[in-house]
Each structure stands twice: as structure tokens, then as C-alpha cells.
């Protein structure tokens, strides 16, 4: 069993070929006649973290659900690991999602299951070896520094602890793609920083591809300008005011992508909306 704070080294699982992990091509979707996403196109390659910013109701969460095949687009193509989701029947999507981890906006923990059973859910469904499940649950909870809460139920946890359990549940199978839906939404600043540090730890230790939705600009700034130090088990600034080259920022506005680029590009943008958005 791992000791608290120990980081379990991931088994490198390279994505086959040079193709992007996530690829949106002219994707549009609307509900009740209202356009939510209009002609969205972007790609995220292996190891990249794509941060989606935008005001409430701009379709950020819908975009994540599209990427996981939980909803289907009205138009356009979505390719995940090179496979067009449109070509995968719904019943095969369940197996396909084994390579994707998702953290929901309000954690979406199963309230009738304990923390242990929530985190182990996917492995239990796969009928993995019980001893193996226990080991992985403890490793995963250790990663989010919440191993003491293993026997608690979601109702007994604080908002921040629920998010950490949700992260542990999402990463237990070491998926190649992680989707974070407002992981810091509704949390106090200190807890938010803890969650961002965990996401950064996941990014820098496991080097998985990630789409992260947030409305907090400081989350994007922290993720782009800090990295996780495995030795100190803390996050630290990139030297010489550098930024993470694998962190891409996208800003959604009026159902479209208003900006896409690095943090440096964002700060240099002459677009009046972007300038107003970043204050």
C-alpha cells in the first residue's frame, strides 16, 4: 500500500499515431430552438490541457458532455482517440468510455454508496479482482489525500472533499482523457486551490489529456503558470515567468469560440471582449 502523499508512477500508455485525442469539427447543438454551441472546431493532442473559459450558459458543460458522448451533436463530427463518436452505437459507448474520466460539476457521487464504493464503481462493474480493487481505491484516494474518508458516505463530506472523491473516481483507471466540469465551482478559494493543485498533479504526473471547464480566470492562470513538483509534493511557478506549453486556453462566447491559444496569447489579445473578460 502507498503511504500518504506517495505518487504512483503511471504506466506510459502512448496514444496510437499522431492523431489528436480530441477533435471537434464544426460541431453545433441547440436545445428547444436555442443554439448552445455553433460551429465549434478545435483539437487537443496527447498530454495537452485545454481550459474552456466563458460566462455561465455559454455551453461549456455541454461541450464536455459532447466529448464524452453523453449527448450527440446536431451537426458536425467529434472524434475521440481518432474514432468518430457518431459511428459508435450507444451500447458500445459504455465500453468506449473506459478510457475517459469525468469529474462532474456537483461531483455527482452516488449518494447511497460509500466513498470506497464510489471510487471502486468502475472496477466493480468490470468485475476486477477484489484485492486489486482495494489496492487501486486506496492508491486513488491517497492521490487526492483522502484515504481517511474511505468508509464515509457523500452526505458526510464537505464540498471540497466530494470533488476530491470525484477526481479519485475519475482517475482510478488512469484514463487517457480527463474531463473536468467546473471542478472549483462553488468552493472557497483555499479549497479551490487544493483542487487545482490535484488537477495539476494529475496533469504533470500522469500526463493525460484533459479538457477543463471553469468560469474562474485564476484557475486558468494557475494551471498555465504553475507545475507540480513531485519531490516537494507542492505546486511551483514555472521558472523565468514561463508558462506551460501544453496548456491551451479557449474562451466561449455566444455559442462560438471567441479565443483559442496560450496564456501569453490571451494576455496579448487585442479583442475588446477578451480584454474586458480578463479585466
Amino acid at each position: 500500500m502507498s503511504t500518504p502523499g506517495t505518487i504512483v508512477a503511471p504506466t506510459p500508455q502512448p496514444i496510437a499515431g499522431p492523431q489528436p485525442v480530441v477533435e471537434f469539427q464544426h460541431v453545433s447543438i441547440g436545445f428547444d430552438g436555442n443554439s448552445v454551441l455553433n460551429n465549434i472546431s478545435f483539437t487537443a493532442t496527447a498530454g495537452e490541457m485545454c481550459i474552456l473559459l466563458g460566462p455561465a450558459g455559454s455551453g461549456k458543460s455541454v461541450l464536455l458532455k459532447l466529448a464524452n458522448g453523453l449527448i450527440r451533436p446536431d451537426f458536425g463530427h467529434i472524434r475521440i482517440f481518432g474514432q468518430d463518436l457518431e459511428e459508435i452505437p450507444e451500447r458500445d459507448m459504455f465500453a468506449f468510455r473506459s478510457n475517459i474520466g469525468m469529474v462532474f460539476q456537483e461531483s455527482a457521487l452516488f449518494d447511497s454508496l460509500s466513498v470506497r464504493d464510489n471510487v471502486a464503481f468502475r472496477l466493480e462493474e468490470q468485475h476486477d479482482d477484489p484485492a486489486d480493487i482495494d489496492r487501486k481505491v486506496r492508491e486513488s484516494l491517497c492521490f487526492v489525500e483522502l484515504e481517511d474518508a474511505i468508509d464515509k458516505f457523500p452526505a458526510e463530506l464537505s464540498g471540497g472533499m466530494k470533488r476530491r472523491v470525484a477526481i479519485a473516481r475519475a482517475i482510478i483507471t488512469q484514463p487517457k482523457l480527463l474531463l473536468y466540469d467546473s471542478p472549483t465551482g462553488g468552493l472557497d478559494p483555499i479549497t479551490s486551490t487544493t483542487i487545482i493543485q490535484l488537477i495539476m498533479k494529475q496533469r504533470d504526473v500522469y500526463e493525460s489529456t484533459a479538457l477543463l471547464v471553469t468560469h474562474r480566470l485564476q484557475d486558468a492562470f494557475t494551471l498555465a503558470t504553475y507545475r507540480f513538483n513531485r519531490t516537494t509534493n507542492q505546486m511551483e511557478r514555472f521558472p523565468n515567468d514561463g508558462v506551460d506549453p501544453n496548456t491551451i486556453i479557449m474562451v466561449l462566447r455566444d455559442s462560438r469560440i471567441a479565443f483559442s491559444g496560450s496564456l501569453v496569447d490571451l494576455l496579448r489579445s487585442k479583442d475588446p471582449y477578451i480584454q474586458e473578460y480578463i479585466g
Partner: protein, 256 residues
């Protein structure tokens, strides 16, 4: 709201309900099977409903004997009270009342439980974790309700006939042997068949309606409350409507 829009919504709802029902049925022959969930639901629906079903059946049989004996006495036919009670219980009241009780208890429970899971994104989380909610949540509830309602109805029929007998003997002065003889003598196989076919359909209605309203819940806790009420109302009305159809079909086939 325009009439066209209203109709479109209703047609869409029927389509979604039909799809959900078909998926739930077809899952019975598709792996994986969730035996543990099946047993849990069977315990919840079957064992959990035992007290209300026994009490309802007993008092229904009793009141049926009490009311019918008074009327039958006017025609000098008080002795056939047993026949009237057993036929009424086995063909109609046993299946219908048991189903209405189970509907009130379990269709509402399914709608509120699945509705809460829906509004808190637990259903989406389940799908994201690679599990088909239709297989894990709906099919076990469907099988459990159909199987348990079948046996609960048999129990209700028996307890109802027994309750009628107790009233007939202790309050109406009828002979116990005569009561049970009449109750048994006039009972034919088609009557029993009709009484046993009904809970299968009613169980299907309870489970699919409860799950449908749960899975289509929108709008937070208020939406959960709305779904729960709708599940009980729709399942109760459908039980009574389908009872009429099955009874008519039975009369058409067996002539009684």
C-alpha cells in the same frame, strides 16, 4: 401552449416511454446481469409491500363479505357469499388493489429515487463510468416488480378470501365449511388465469411508468416531486384502464 406543440410533446413522451420499455425488456437477455440489484429490488418491492398488501387484502375480503351478504340475504342467497368474495378477489380486487398499493408505494419510490439521481447528474455519471443505467437501474426494477406483484397478488387473494370467511363466520353466522366450499366450487381455471395474468401487466406498468418519470425528471427538487406524483397518477389510471381491457378480453375468450 399551441395544440400542435402539446400533441408533439405527448407523442414524444409516448415514443420515449416505448423505447425505455423496450430497452428494459431486451436487457433481460443481454449481459451483464445485475443479480444483486435484482434481489435488492425484489426485497424492497416484495417483502417491503407485504404488510400493506396483507392488510388491504384482508379488509377488502371482509368488507366484501359484509356488504354482499346483506344484499344477497334479500334474495335468500346469503349462502353464495363465499363464491362472490372469492371470484371478486381473484378476478378483480386482488390484482387491482394490490397493484394500486404497490404503485403508490413503489412507482413513487422509483420515480423519486431515479429522479433525484437524474437531477444530481448521477445517471450521467453512471453512463460516464461505463455502466448502462437502463441495465443497472430499470431492468432489475422491472423484473422484480412483475415477479413480486404476481406473488403478492396470490397472497392478497388468499388473505382476502380468508378475511371474507372470518367475517362471514363470526359476524354473519355463515358456516365456515359452506363458505369455503362455495368459494372453491364456483372457481374455474379461466378465473384464476385472468387473476394471474393481470399482475404481470400491472407490474410492467408500475415499473416502466415509475422509471420513465424518474429518468425524464427535469428541474431540481420541484421536478422530482412532480415526477413522483405523475408516476403514481399515470400508473394508477393505466392499471384500471388495462384492467378493463384484460377483463373484456378474458370475457371474449373464455365467456366469463
Amino acid at each position: 401552449m399551441q395544440v400542435g406543440e402539446f400533441l408533439r410533446e405527448k407523442v414524444l413522451a409516448v415514443q420515449e416511454y416505448s423505447l425505455l420499455s423496450w430497452q428494459a425488456i431486451s436487457n433481460i437477455v443481454r449481459r451483464p446481469f445485475y443479480w444483486e440489484d435484482l434481489y435488492t429490488q425484489a426485497d424492497l418491492i416484495g417483502v417491503g409491500s407485504l404488510p400493506i398488501v396483507v392488510l388491504t387484502g384482508f379488509f377488502t375480503g371482509g368488507v366484501l363479505a359484509l356488504q354482499s351478504a346483506t344484499t344477497l340475504a334479500q334474495f335468500g342467497a346469503k349462502s353464495v357469499t363465499g363464491e362472490l368474495v372469492s371470484l371478486s378477489m381473484i378476478k378483480e380486487l386482488g390484482p387491482v388493489l394490490t397493484s394500486l398499493m404497490v404503485s403508490g408505494r413503489n412507482a413513487s419510490g422509483m420515480a423519486s429515487e431515479l429522479g433525484s439521481m437524474q437531477v444530481t447528474e448521477q445517471i450521467d455519471a453512471m453512463r460516464a463510468l461505463g455502466t448502462d443505467p437502463s441495465k443497472k437501474l430499470i431492468t432489475p426494477r422491472l423484473i422484480s416488480t412483475v415477479v413480486m406483484l404476481f406473488f403478492l397478488t396470490i397472497l392478497s387473494d388468499a388473505v382476502g378470501t380468508l378475511g371474507g370467511g372470518l367475517v362471514a363466520v363470526t359476524m354473519l353466522g355463515l358456516d365456515a365449511s359452506q363458505y369455503f366450499h362455495m368459494a372453491y366450487q364456483f372457481l374455474k381455471y379461466p378465473d384464476i388465469l385472468e387473476g394471474l395474468v393481470k399482475p404481470v401487466f400491472f407490474g410492467f406498468i408500475i415499473a416502466t411508468i415509475g422509471c420513465y418519470f424518474g429518468m425524464s425528471t427535469r428541474g431540481g427538487t420541484q421536478g422530482v416531486g412532480r415526477s413522483t406524483t405523475q408516476a403514481v397518477v399515470y400508473s394508477s389510471v393505466l392499471i384500471i384502464a388495462s384492467d378493463f381491457l384484460i377483463s373484456r378480453l378474458s370475457i371474449g375468450i373464455f365467456g366469463r
